[in-house]
C-alpha cells in the first residue's frame, strides 16, 4: 500500500487530485468541493478541520458506490476514521449529492488549484444549502458570504425559489 505520511499543510491539492481520480476510475460521475472550504473560496479564511467532497454517484444503489470509493482510496494509502477518509492526517468526507447538492455539483464553478482542475460550489448554492440546514453556524456562514462575497442576487433568488427556501431573518 502507498504511504501517506501526515502533512503540516492542508493537502487540498491531493484531495482534489484524488477526487478527479475517482471520476477517471469510473466510480463517480462528477464532484465539487462544498462545505467550509468552499465557503473559504469566497470569504476570509477561518478554522476548519475537514473537507467535504460532494459527488454524483455512478452507482444509483443504496450505498451510492461508497464502498468502492473507500476501497479505491485506501489502496492509495488513505486511512479510514469513522465517517472520514484521511489523507496525510487530514479528514475528508465524501458525500453523495442529491437534490440541491446535486444541482450545486452540476453548476459548480470550475477552478484550478495548484495546477489541479477542480470544481467548487457557487456562493449562491453555499447560501442555499446553509439556509436548508439552518444551524447557528450556517446562519453565520450566510451572513459572512452576504457581507464579503460577490454573488448573483438573481441567481440566488432563483435557487432559493426552486428549492422552496428562505434566507433566515437577521
Amino acid at each position: 500500500m502507498a504511504t501517506n505520511p501526515p502533512s503540516d499543510n492542508l493537502p487540498l491539492s491531493e484531495v482534489l487530485h484524488a477526487a478527479n481520480g475517482l471520476v477517471a476510475a469510473g466510480l463517480i460521475e462528477d464532484w465539487a468541493l462544498g462545505g467550509a472550504l468552499a465557503a473559504i473560496y469566497y470569504v476570509e479564511p477561518f478554522t476548519t478541520y475537514d473537507a467535504d467532497i460532494f459527488f454524483i454517484p455512478k452507482d444509483t444503489g443504496l450505498t451510492a458506490g461508497i464502498p468502492a470509493i473507500y476501497a479505491h482510496l485506501q489502496a492509495q494509502g488513505w486511512q479510514v476514521e469513522r465517517e472520514h477518509l484521511l489523507i496525510r492526517g487530514f479528514p475528508v468526507q465524501f458525500l453523495a449529492a442529491n437534490g440541491l447538492t446535486e444541482e450545486a455539483v452540476r453548476e459548480a464553478e470550475r477552478i484550478e488549484y495548484e495546477g489541479v482542475p477542480a470544481k467548487v460550489f457557487r456562493a449562491e448554492h453555499i447560501i442555499a444549502i446553509a439556509a436548508s440546514v439552518g444551524r447557528a453556524k450556517d446562519k453565520a456562514r450566510i451572513e459572512q458570504i452576504l457581507q464579503q462575497a460577490d454573488f448573483d442576487k438573481t441567481y440566488l433568488a432563483e435557487v432559493l425559489q426552486r428549492h422552496k427556501l428562505k434566507l433566515p431573518t437577521p
Binding site: 503540516d8 492542508l10 473559504i40 476570509e44 479564511p45 477561518f46 478554522t47 488549484y113 457581507q147 464579503q148
Partner: protein, 47 residues
C-alpha cells in the same frame, strides 16, 4: 476585526487562504481551548 480588513482577506487568492487555514488549524491544535472548571468560574466571578 474591521470589515474592510475582512473584505481584503476574502479577496486573497484561494491558495493563500488555504495556507492560512492550515496555520489556523495548527495554532488551534497547539493551543486548544481549555474547558473552564467550576473553580475557575467562581474565581472569575469573585474578581
Amino acid at each position: 476585526m474591521k470589515a474592510e480588513i475582512r473584505q481584503k482577506l476574502a479577496r486573497e487568492p484561494f491558495a493563500e487562504k488555504i495556507r492560512k487555514v492550515g496555520q489556523l488549524v495548527r495554532l488551534a491544535k497547539t493551543f486548544p481551548r481549555r474547558q473552564m472548571k467550576r473553580g475557575d468560574i467562581r474565581q472569575k466571578a469573585a474578581i
